[in-house]
């Protein structure tokens, strides 16, 4: 079973989904039980995979893997021909870049299912779609075949559309369509790039494509006019098409406006998954299927990426400061935090890149916790106006304590996870050894200060000060809500103190990636 563990992790939820579809709508408890099991087992498997199965590779192992034709040195590889006529394979595996995200996916989906138990409207279709979503997300992280990657990418899109569009807030249809069209636009660009890559290289295999690109053999030579189009090189086209596709998902300024709408309208568990894991697909996609295919273009435009990252950091923080809606504020904080991912990747240093990968994981835990926190108060007050609360810490002290932890994790307090990734990113960007990057680091520090500002201001408005008499009867955070938040906050603390438990896993692959992209490893 070990060889197929990734398949099990990916497709067990699909099995769950199938079961749910067979259960009558009325046996809601059974449906919930099946969803719980169908997300719990993958979580257990991926936890074992993370701590037990996954081997920490040495540089020597990477050399061997390269000789054997897998430049990424993926583990738990399963490779079966799928559509022979165009050379599509079912080709999955994990490496240091994806393993933590696979783990995070299974955790967040499990938490998402528990969080959904509080939703009255959530029924058979909801849980089925939720499980389908997990299939899509896990699939993207484990795919090593570009076509398969794309298929999973699209599978994920569909349930998300319905989950927001059916179970969302008042403007759910607008938000869902916006999300769908935006992401679809990105997907189309990706598809064009994928087809072009296939036509040029004759393969969909991500490791193979990476290798070809690293050897400088992926320049569009097999395409009409040697890949030149409108005066731009093939690699540039591929880079930008893939980049925009992924940037929409991250989201990077100026492609971010779907995010606040989607978050505000989405039900809490969906927001958690959206912020916690869907956004990471963008950053992961860039590392897996954008930069490695067009290294020269990446180097050419690295600074542009970093600029976009810094704009996201600072702009996101200021816009969050201007919000009055709690959830929208948290949504913009995501824009701000994901900016670090781009800054770190653009810096192209070990710590910059590693900070970016780490930031994806850490933002996954902290932002998911924040959305759960917003959900708790929204469930009670049925609104999210930051100015309409007050004194909540006296009414719900335990909830306040958890929120404090979540807020400080989000604002990058040392000792909590966010700090490690932000600091690594900033140091890494500074190390890029170039005055332009240093300027960016200085500017991004504005974001550090203002992130603290909007979070603490929100803290003051919601939790401190005079009690709002309307809300005196609010019940303290309940067991289910606690169970959802506590593990995430625990991870924030754990990886703040012991970042080695993430970095040891990521480090070899990040070094390998830098080597592939032709940099200092």
């Amino acid at each position: 079973m070990q060889d197929q563990i990734l398949t099990w992790i990916t497709f067990l939820p699909l099995l769950g989904m199938g079961l749910i579809l067979l259960i009558p709508k009325t046996s809601l408890n059974l449906i919930k039980g099946v969803s719980l099991a169908a997300t719990f087992v993958p979580m257990v498997l991926s936890t074992w995979l993370y701590f037990g199965g996954f081997k920490h590779l040495t540089p020597g192992d990477f050399d061997q893997a390269r000789m054997a034709g897998d430049i990424l040195a993926s583990q738990f590889v399963q490779r079966v021909p799928w559509i022979d006529s165009i050379g599509v394979e079912y080709y999955v595996g994990v490496d240091g870049l994806s393993i933590a995200l696979v783990w995070l996916t299974t955790i967040l989906l499990f938490i998402g299912v528990i969080a959904s138990f509080g939703m009255e409207k959530a029924g058979k279709a909801y849980y089925a779609l939720l499980l389908m979503l997990e299939v899509g997300i896990s699939g993207v992280f484990v795919s090593l075949d570009l076509f398969l990657f794309y298929v999973f990418w699209e599978i994920m899109l569909l349930p998300m559309y319905f989950l927001i569009g059916i179970w969302g807030g008042p403007r759910r249809e607008y938000a869902a369509i916006k999300f769908f069209l935006y992401t679809l636009a990105g997907s189309v660009l990706m598809l064009i790039a994928i087809v072009a890559l296939r036509l040029d290289s004759g393969t969909f295999s991500i490791p193979k494509l990476t290798e070809l690109a690293a050897q400088g053999k992926l320049l569009g030579a097999n395409l009409p006019a040697a890949g030149e189009l409108l005066g731009m090189k093939f690699t540039t086209w591929v880079f930008w098409f893939l980049f925009v596709g992924f940037a929409i998902k991250v989201p990077v300024f100026p492609f971010h406006t779907w995010l606040p709408d989607a978050h505000v309208e989405a039900p809490t568990p969906i927001s958690v998954i959206l912020a916690g894991i869907l956004l990471k697909l963008g950053g992961y996609g860039m590392l897996r299927a954008c930069f490695p295919f067009a290294p020269s273009a990446f180097h050419e435009f690295a600074y542009v990426l970093a600029i976009l990252g810094v704009i996201s950091i600072v702009y996101g923080a200021f816009v969050a400061l201007g919000q009055t809606d709690f959830k929208k504020m948290v949504a913009y904080s995501s824009v701000s935090h994901m900016g670090y991912v781009l800054l770190g990747m653009g810096a192209f240093t070990v710590w910059g890149m590693e900070g970016a990968v780490l930031q994806m994981f850490n933002h996954g835990t902290s932002s998911a916790a924040l959305f759960l926190i917003v959900g708790v108060i929204y469930d009670r007050a049925h609104h999210r106006d930051l100015n309409a609360f007050g004194g909540m810490s006296q009414i719900m002290p335990r909830y306040w304590a958890l929120t404090t932890l979540g807020f400080f994790a989000a604002l990058g307090l040392p000792g909590l996870a966010g700090f490690v990734s932000e600091a690594l990113t900033l140091i890494g960007a500074y190390q890029a050894g170039d005055a332009r990057f240093r300027t960016l680091v200085f500017i991004s520090l504005l974001g550090v200060v203002f992130t603290a500002a909007f979070l603490l201001w929100a803290m003051q408005r919601v939790f401190l000060g005079q009690k709002n008499p309307k809300y005196l009867d609010f019940e303290e955070i309940n067991f289910r809500e606690l169970v959802c938040q506590a593990p995430l906050l625990f991870l924030c603390i754990l990886f703040g103190i012991l970042p080695a438990y993430l970095l040891d896993w990521m480090h070899p692959s990040v070094q390998n990636l830098l080597a592939i992209l032709g940099g200092k490893a």
């Binding site: 069209l181 406006t257 702009y315 006296q394 900033l426 140091i427 480090h507 070094q511």
Partner: protein
Amino acid sequence: MHFLEFNPQQDFHLLFLSFVLPLVGYTIQIFFGKKLPRRGDWLLTSFMFVAMSITVLMFAKSLWAAYHGQEFRHHSGHEAGLWFHWLYSSDAAAAGTPNVSAAIYYDSLGAAMYAVVGIVSFCVHLFSIGYMAQDKRYHIFFANISLFTFAMLGLVLSDNILFLFIFWELMGLMSYLLIGHFSHDPSQSYFHRWATQACKKAFLTTRVGDTCLLIGMVIFYQHFGTFNFTELWRLAQEEVARNGGQYPTWMTVAGLFVFGGTVGKSAQFPLHIWLPDAMAGPTPVSAMIHAATMVAAGVFLLGRTYPLMSPEVLSVVAATGTFTALFAASIGTTANDLKAVLAWSTISQLGFMVAAVGLGGVVAGMFHMVTHAFFKACLFLSAGSVIHGCHHEQDMRNMGGVRKYMPVTFACMLASTIAIAGIPFFSGFYSKDMIILRAWENVLGGHFDGASFFAAVALPVAACLTAFYMFRLIFMTFFGEYRPGTVPSPFAHHGGHDDHAHGDHGHDEHGHAEHAHAGHGHDEHASHGHGHDHAKHAPAVHAHAAKAHDGHGHGAHGHADHGHADHGHAAHGHGGHGEHAKPHESPLPMLIALCVLATLGVFGGHFWPADLGHSLAFWHHAHTWFETSVTLESLYGASAPIERELLGHAGHTAHIVALSVSLTVASLGILIAYLIYGRGWERSQRIAGKITGALGDIYGVIKNKYYVDEAVGCAIVVDLEAKGNKRYEPDVSVIGGSVALGRALSWVDKNIVDGLVNLVGRTGRAIGVGSSHFDRVVVDGAVNGVGLITQTFGSVVRLLQSGRVQQYATFAVFGGLFLAAWLILL
């Protein structure tokens, strides 16, 4: 091996134990504190006692080593192999990338600071048992001060600047929580509203400085590739040597950024604004922040990074420190709030320390940090005792004559005041004199740079002001007659008698033995919430309390109301009010804490017995225990920036000048304070009125703290006091501007960035609608047309479709050729 000799095999473990004990205590307390007997205070206090004992023992070892001429610089990684590999679990895992590993670094300065933190924190714990007895979040309070201590202990032990930063920020969080302690307790009405804003202000203001420190740290890392202090010192020295004895420009830039961290944490101008508002926290927290943690961290950082600072940076440091010392002292003379005077005094004294480092007198600066920690902690706790005794009054105009009621507190506070004023034989004298000496040495020794000259002139003025406002405090608070209610005070709980009396109850419990049972009942009541017991207990207490207070039955009512409040009922009517009750001395735990700190505040400059003979000869400066154990050499080893030590002919003259200046300004300050405030309240008001009248607008500016808070946009106290009238709205200020920018960008995001997206969407839809018309009319028409054509075409082709294979083949071949020709030709 002598038992006072440092033993790396065992002592690092002890140090580690003393460092984690508060954390362990915190964890237990957070989860179980509410259920523990006495809500866990004994647990954390005893943990802190153990930790303190270790810190003191270790400190004794450092002194022993110093007196035996041994080097005292210990590193757990190099000596005992104790490392904490942080980023990657091992160097193998790092695979060539630099790892970040931390270890314990324990040198003479660290030892002194570590002991100070341990002692002050233990005293604060002890004091809080009495002071916070009636607090609703008593167990949380203890947990938080323990974690606060943990952060500071970690900061002191860090061997690298990144870990220092981690603990530094953790301390920021703890100060946020502790300053905001009352923001969760509406019964403290004034503090409730104040703390709500003050905690945020403190965190964000220091965060600005922290960000500077972060970037400074990153710049140093970029060039030196390490965060480790000893490595940084060595590399800095090499870099300077390589650069022909000059500090390169980047080091100046980086040094300024690192200093930015100190400016934030140690409340130097212009980031000092958070510290006066940190008074919104409970008084024991103020003692922690002002003495052992937070503000001391900034100065400690300067001690740790001193060899990295270029002369240009040091000039800036000296000028900033001197300016802050003078600036804050001037404000301190106008404050009427007991704690506010002490807060401004802290800022001013921190200015002295910072200036000392800037002047090259890093040892003097660190010495002042240590002595100041003791007497300032004592001053704050004494102030807390006074406030506690005066029924939560903080305005000195409503005090007076308190010495009669609180003799122990008075003695402690007076001793500390003498120490801070700089009277010989008291610790503050030695350290402050050393700083002034340093300034004069620089001036007389030919280092006639602007900063040194400024410091040589301005620091004595600040010292004079210090003596003045501290004795003003003593005279206003402790002398004359008790005069409650002279001025309306926001601290008196006019709107909340219940809370007021509730606070009073504490002294019934502790001050009068015969009320022990009542107090006990009360305690039970509060922590376990036996609402039904209330009726039974209250009348009994009432009788006792009424007797004890000579007819002022507030204590009893307080109790009754407290019981009610706990159970969510509205407070009902009651008679007596604390305002007219006499002050009373504080309970024993508080007094013990005060006495310990006062003793150290007095003898902190020379408490090591072997040193006694020397220190009596107070003009002979080089013989305080601190200077024996902490020298530049002992701090930075081989990389000590010796060249900046000024010695020689200037020394002797400077000693005499500094000594005379110190003595003169201290006496002058005390004399003025006596002349104005020491001769009766009415007279003092008359004289003070004349002086302020003569000063006119200048006085207003000083009184309003030079309007710095207004410029930043966070004048909380002004805002609070303007309640009812026009609310204070900052028009043009840093914060107002930032929020406005945030709102503007939100508008842009919603209407322009998203507007574009919607425009694209709408355009798309318009095209869609258009094309559906097009589809129906044109495309569908075309399809129909095509259908027609096909029909026609079909009938033509039918002619070709003969069913004969050869004919098809011919068509195919010709077709293929045609296609091929087309492809080739194009």
